[in-house]
Symmetry: C2
């Protein structure tokens, strides 16, 4: 009977260890892992040994641990991760080829967005997002598209705040955001000017599954003031339509 | 004491469940998962419940299970997966922009290659590889580059076979392959003509870490007969050099 009771704690603790890594700290010592996971050193030592044995963690030449390639191979089968990305990539590449600007693909996870893909020219405007990383929904183009089509309880949870002000222009007033979300639904795209950084403008459009549900959003991020949103919207909407069609086939 | 003994079995069984998914079968029922993982249904039921609780698996509208976005988020921190890919992408995009052909990035895991990235135009020649997927080392450009710089025991294990013949032209003779690997080391790139499919030719070059070790390979795959390998090699080698430099900084 003991194994029944232990399944949960072992997997939950293993997940705590795996989620201790961040983009700033992709390699950690055993002591750092234990501290970040909030687990005793002996427990961490045992878990880490098994995770290495299973290939889910790797040990580097310095003796530090990092997320293993085996875990990445398994994760490549996540339909909302690489699965979506594989379908979307040719259309994103077309948009990237004609613009050489940031082209981003994101999905919603709870009250945040997760970036699934980004193509970025070396001379494109810098953005704060990272593939595999999370970001708030309210200031970004993809975020507003995803939020505009989210269930009401998710919208209300986000609008209830706190809403981070990334720039002096970031809209953080719930009523103003509610109006913006209605516009996004009415027009079929979102335009976000200087909402995350003072030099970026994004245009985003929704990607739908076969049942019509919005499952992802694609955007282009350019230097604010260099392009008219009206000129970018048709290209972004066409890209979103192409991906929507690819998801249906 | 029971928890000590259970850590290993629980994590190993959980890994068996997670590795039951394949690119052909990204969504599985509980019964299918149990059969593919080789575990009793009750054990699988308990493990799957916990994996869903931890966000490592998701349940879709049909009641089938699939790899979760949470797992993909963790895996995005694997240095040999998305970490490498993020550094390499701008250089791969440059090569893709000027050629519109398949541009691939791979690392070695044991006696196989794992594809970390692929950019592919919609009109590029079809290839058999998949991002996150494994492939034998002996017939591909990236595979031969990785094998040429692998430890001797890995080379001997691969050459000892079995070596799959993908086309009538695939080199499967160990002595001929040994000669090819020596040429790859001498010339700094690999040319593979019609070794995987009868219409593809690839040119690949090594990517090195700061200590000089070959840690990855990049290739371009074109339609065989349409381009001279001698014309492609400088571009692929320049791309590999660019990524090598990016890994050092």
């Amino acid at each position: 009977m003991s194994s029944r009771g232990e399944t949960g704690p072992v997997l939950r603790r293993a997940t705590q260890v795996l989620t201790a890594f961040t983009s700033d700290r992709p390699a950690l010592t055993l002591t750092q892992l234990a501290r970040r996971a909030g687990l005793p050193l002996t427990t961490t030592h045992r878990l880490v040994g098994e995770l290495v044995h299973c290939g889910l963690l790797e040990r580097d030449a310095d003796g530090r641990y990092r997320v293993g390639l085996r875990l990445w191979e398994i994760a490549s089968l996540a339909p909302r991760g690489l699965g979506l990305r594989e379908r979307a990539l040719p259309y994103m590449e077309d948009l990237f080829a004609v613009t050489r600007e940031n082209v981003q693909l994101a999905v919603r996870e709870g009250v945040e967005s997760v970036y699934v893909e980004r193509l970025a020219g070396r001379h494109a405007v810098p953005v704060l997002t990272r593939v595999g990383g999370r970001f708030p929904l309210h200031p970004t183009g993809v975020g507003r598209v995803l939020l505009a089509h989210a269930p009401t309880d998710i919208q209300e949870a986000v609008l209830a705040g706190p809403l981070t002000r990334f720039t002096p222009l970031t809209v953080v007033d719930p009523d103003a955001l509610r109006k913006i979300l209605a516009d996004v639904r009415a027009h079929g795209f979102a335009v976000n000017d200087r909402q995350v950084t003072m030099d970026s403008l994004s245009v985003a459009a929704p990607i739908r599954a076969a049942d019509g549900e919005v499952v992802a959003a694609v955007s282009i991020v350019v230097t604010s003031g260099t392009a008219l949103p009206a000129a970018l919207a048709p290209a972004v909407r066409a890209t979103a339509q192409g991906i929507t069609r690819a998801l249906r086939s």
